[in-house]
Symmetry: C2
Subunit: 406 residues, 2 copies
Amino acid sequence: NVKGDRLWESLMEMAKIGATKKGGCCRLALTDLDKEGRDLFSSWCNDAGCTIKVDKMGNIFARRAGTRDDLPPVMTGSHLDTQPTGGKYDGVFGVLAGLEVLRTLNDFDVKTEHPVEVAVWTNEEGSRFAPAMVASGVFAGVFDLEYGLSRADLDGKTMGEELKRIGYAGTEEVGGREIKAFFEAHIEQGPILEHEEKTIGVVMGAQGQRWYEITITGQEAHAGPTPMARRKDALVAASKIITEVNRIGMDNQPFACATVGLIQSSPNSRNTIPGEVFFTVDFRHPKDEILSKMDAELRAFAEKTAKDGGYEMKFEEIWYSPPVEFDTDCVNAVRKGSEIAGYSHMDIISGAGHDACYISRVAPTGMIFVPCENGISHNEEEEATPEDLAAGCNVLLHAIVERANI
Amino acid sequence: NVKGDRLWESLMEMAKIGATKKGGCCRLALTDLDKEGRDLFSSWCNDAGCTIKVDKMGNIFARRAGTRDDLPPVMTGSHLDTQPTGGKYDGVFGVLAGLEVLRTLNDFDVKTEHPVEVAVWTNEEGSRFAPAMVASGVFAGVFDLEYGLSRADLDGKTMGEELKRIGYAGTEEVGGREIKAFFEAHIEQGPILEHEEKTIGVVMGAQGQRWYEITITGQEAHAGPTPMARRKDALVAASKIITEVNRIGMDNQPFACATVGLIQSSPNSRNTIPGEVFFTVDFRHPKDEILSKMDAELRAFAEKTAKDGGYEMKFEEIWYSPPVEFDTDCVNAVRKGSEIAGYSHMDIISGAGHDACYISRVAPTGMIFVPCENGISHNEEEEATPEDLAAGCNVLLHAIVERANI
Ligand SMILES: NC(=O)NCCC(=O)O
Ligand SMILES: NC(=O)NCCC(=O)O
């Protein structure tokens, strides 16, 4: 079994980098803090005797040799970047659980036929740079390298520039190699396991996502002498669309999620009618048909709102990530691991996107969920228990060892 | 008569300071650019033989002596600060029209019994520091000095600090002295004069205003795995209130205006449900009863929205500026000036607040409006014709000379 204490200590050590006052973490992708986190991980992997490689998207691979080192690796991992008001576990758990598996194999001097690699995927969150999972997406051939490196943050800085700046623009080609199996351990980030009182979620797949960027242009004018009837208030139009996004989420239950997470209004002055508003939409559903229906509803409403109010509108779908089904063998390995270790478990669909979603296109893939307190994630108060995290890590160990010796 | 060309040239010279690509001006209160504008104005006043004093709120007074210099001054003026996407005339016209009056009196060597002063009021716009007209408000005893100096921008910098930094924290006491009469020339900032084809607006008074700051606190959570029914999305609540603000404006016609000009959402990340949204509300109406009714409607809706959705809400009315009626003698002087000079004119109520609104509490006050193109202000495309501006300046000259010799 893994050492739960060691895993916990590593998590708490990593959480110091970008620690927030409210007990969370702000370690945005490709910032100085992200570099610090990557450096710490790399030094731990060095200590564990791994060889480390970095690819052109900044993905890090720490490798423990197999007895037949020419065989394709069994891979695990997740991400070290966080949301602006992120927690200590989202992503980090999957990376450090992978490290803990390597440390445990070392402890017991276990040899595996296949090499085992722990991956850190760049910019999984999609918060500083959209879309999410962009570097695992390049690895899986969903995006090309140029697209990945040219993703820009709101200040116009690109991933390529920022990778160079922090010294993680590696030389390895991105992807294009065989992987025996990929497993990602993660906190659930939702309320189901806690509610069902299960320790392990055997992840069957993930729901689909559509991300949009919408810019409404009206006309700036004085908030005092401009009669209501003459106005083109971009924020009023945006507010109607935001309310509709919420309606679409509500009316496509069960399962639909609909969120406007980001909004920027210009010139953002109390007594000037907003002339331009930029905002994003995040739609999710496990069924592709419903996701398409939500898409159609949003387009129709946004177009009508723009037309009726005489606004200009730029409406762009910037990301579509279809629903994912994981590999049966990998899913079974996770379920079997839970049973051998004696943990309560249930099948579950992931509400979040994960690097595993993209890797599943190029390798047999599975995921392991553990509960998080009140189902809260993307929040500084995100919590998980050392016991549940150790349990998830043990299931990961079982799954990896099984796959690495076939 | 005044020299319209000279007035226009000075306006264009001042407009270079903070000039924007779209032909407007961004010269926010107490920035380096505001200092530059103030310096330019002061040098022009020096050249015109004025003595210059600056008070503790940074208000500038350029004085042309009277033949009986112990008599209280006739004063005119406005402001040099602009909106983030402001125009070349809002405020600046009133200041430079005052200067043009002094230059004209010099040209013809006209002596006035009362001294004449041109004032530049600090932070009239209320954009960088809320509320608007804060320094003329301190001058009029509506706010105390400490309140004025402690107004802070969104970065927490106070007016007191910024006045010191740009060297305009003067030593004169703020207000407390007699003023014979105050006149302010300004572009209308609305569509009425243009629509009625009149050159001069004889301003009878100004509508009332109520400004609010509202903070809605919900709960940050992941946009993917968090079921709609469990969410407390602060931006959804804010959007409902913004839509209602617009409804209140629409349903209290004629005359009501209602605007949300400023919004900040946190953490502002595409795939995190917004945890906290801060926004402002600007309500206006010429009738106090209707303004109170609008206030009651907003409070009721906001409270219900917060309660029903389980949000925390901070709801603060940060400014109340009641409807203003200007002094009959001053209004008549403006009307008479228009008639003598032969300009078409009409009575009008100001939709915007102006420094004159506060000065009217401590001195007989009147205002002169000239048309602006398409009624557009607080917009980089704000335009006014040299002819109309010269006309307004001539009316100002008449009104000042009349009042300065009684
Ligand atoms: N796990 C996670 O938070 N992923 C971010 C991408 C998403 O929003 O689903
Ligand atoms: N004149 C002007 O733009 N004043 C700003 C204060 C207001 O919003 O009324």
